[in-house]
């Protein structure tokens, strides 16, 4: 889940990282008051969960509180990328000697976070990494062992930063790394990290993304920031189909039928198990299939929950068939899922043998599950058929139906 900049600044400040004087306002009058308190020139920034603020006119500079108020009024009424601002951040326009980049991001390939530092801040780090790779320092670190400041120092030093700047930037990057782990972030970024004329460092902008599944663990932080439970903070608003998926998951405590994501294809997916969802989704696409949805079902859902998800997918306009596929399951019962998807078909008036393109869930209670599938004439596969092959068969079937 994403945080607004004003929230990210609070998170950074709570971690002991200095930030430039700033305040959050939801009205132009409040913005004026904050600008007066700050004194001197300010920057008024739209608080939207989308990029391109500067280009869209969502960031303006003000020399006086009057100007700050006028800019805030304009920005508060300005839609950016389909988003109306939550408010404005009134930030002091600091006297910057040098801009740096400090970030921590999850590296899915290494399954470890990586700290990044550059002495070329204020621009996209991807751009710097491409055009000036020698100006980007990086280093992976463990989420299990305690983080040591020297790891941050090494990364900073790799960019050629030395002396006092190195000494002062090191604790900031180290705190960012610790914050990343403690707050379950997937991205923690300060850009720019500004070195001021007096040699001190402050965070001038911050960007934080937290693991969505960490919300219960970070309840206290979210409450402190005023983030409501109803706020999804995803890259886009959930569709009615996805909201209905959440309702299916919430109707019963047993198992999971989550992360229902809508696509516009004709093959409905009831997929899951230990990363199997992503693999199967990719496999369907690799074979030229057009998924109607993504989802993650597992953890031994009730028949009711499996049926609820299958019904939701079957009723989605444009869905011709569903493919029920998982990797090998140990904590989800094959027979229970089989009952659920067959029940969904029957209750909707469909023939399960027609509507279920393939059922490929090997694992716990598979013999019982296969008896049920046979009874209803549903094509099924055991572990001797790979997930890729099962996806191919499903795509082939729906191709024949189209």
């Amino acid at each position: 889940m994403r945080f607004f900049e004003y929230e990210s600044r609070q998170i950074v400040a709570k971690a002991g990282i200095p930030t430039s004087p700033h305040g959050f306002a939801t009205t132009a009058e409040e913005a004026r008051r904050i600008a007066t308190e700050i004194g001197g020139p300010t920057v008024i920034k739209s608080q939207v969960l989308t990029g391109g603020r500067m280009k869209a006119g969502g960031v303006k500079f003000a020399d006086t509180p009057d100007e700050a108020e006028a800019h805030a009024r304009d920005i508060l009424a300005l839609e950016i990328g389909g988003h109306m601002p939550r408010g404005v951040l009134v930030d002091s326009k600091v006297d910057v000697k040098q801009e740096y980049y400090a970030g921590v991001v999850w590296d899915g390939m290494r399954k470890q976070p990586v700290i990044l530092f550059s002495d070329m801040g204020g621009i996209d780090i991807e751009e710097v990494a491409e055009s000036h790779p020698d100006h980007v320092g990086r280093g992976h670190f463990s989420t299990i062992h305690p983080f040591s400041d020297f790891q941050a120092k090494q990364v900073i030093a790799a960019t050629g930063v030395t002396g006092k700047a190195l000494q002062r930037a090191t604790p900031i990057l180290a705190r960012l790394a610790k914050l990343f782990v403690e707050r379950d972030m997937t991205l923690a970024e300060i850009n720019p990290l500004a070195e001021l004329a007096d040699g001190s460092f402050v965070a001038v902008d911050a960007h934080m993304d937290m693991e969505n599944e960490a919300r219960p663990r970070q309840k206290a932080l979210l409450a402190e920031l005023g983030v409501g439970e109803e706020e999804t903070r995803q890259a886009r608003e959930a569709t009615p189909f996805e909201i209905a998926g959440e309702a299916v998951d919430a109707m019963d405590h047993r198992g999971v039928a989550g992360n229902v994501t809508e696509f516009d294809g004709n093959l409905g997916l009831v997929i899951g198990a230990g990363g199997g969802s992503l693999t199967l989704f990719d496999a369907v696409r690799a074979h030229g299939g057009d998924p109607a949805n993504y989802c993650e079902i597992g953890g031994n859902p009730s028949v009711k929950k499996a049926a609820g998800l299958a019904k939701l997918v079957l009723q989605k306009p444009g869905v011709d068939k569903i493919a029920v596929m998982m990797s090998i399951v140990s904590n989800t019962r094959v027979d229970i899922v089989a009952r659920g998807v067959i029940k969904a078909c029957i209750e909707l008036g469909y023939d399960p043998a027609e509507k279920i393109a393939i059922f490929r869930i090997p694992g716990a209670w598979e013999e019982e599950g296969f008896k049920i599938l046979e009874r209803y004439g549903v094509e099924y596969a055991d572990r001797s058929v790979s997930m890729h092959e099962a996806a191919r068969r499903a795509v082939e079937k729906i191709g024949a139906a189209a």
């Binding site: 009730s302 028949v303 229970i336 009952r339 067959i342 019982e368 009874r375 209803y376």
Partner: protein, 78 residues
């Protein structure tokens, strides 16, 4: 609505016994049995298909008095 996959039959002497009703309600992990208004056993039809074939209801009652039938297997009993 009766179960699509599972059905249960409870013999009259168990079905009318409040002690067995309470025991069945307690042991069934998916709430197929409940104590009815008369104190006897009530079968909650909407939960029948949730049966996990755990046999706890069979263990809680005298042999042969509760029968769990797999309708997808021509009524074979547990």
């Amino acid at each position: 609505m009766p179960g699509l996959f599972i059905d249960v039959e409870v013999a009259p002497e168990v079905a009318s016994d409040p002690a067995y009703a309470a025991r069945l309600e307690e042991v069934c992990p998916v709430d197929i049995y409940a104590v009815g208004p008369d104190g006897g056993v009530t079968v909650v039809e909407e939960n029948l298909d949730e049966c996990v074939l755990c046999r706890l209801c069979l263990d809680a009652t005298p042999e042969g008095t509760v029968r769990v039938k797999k309708l997808y297997e021509d009524g074979a009993t547990l």
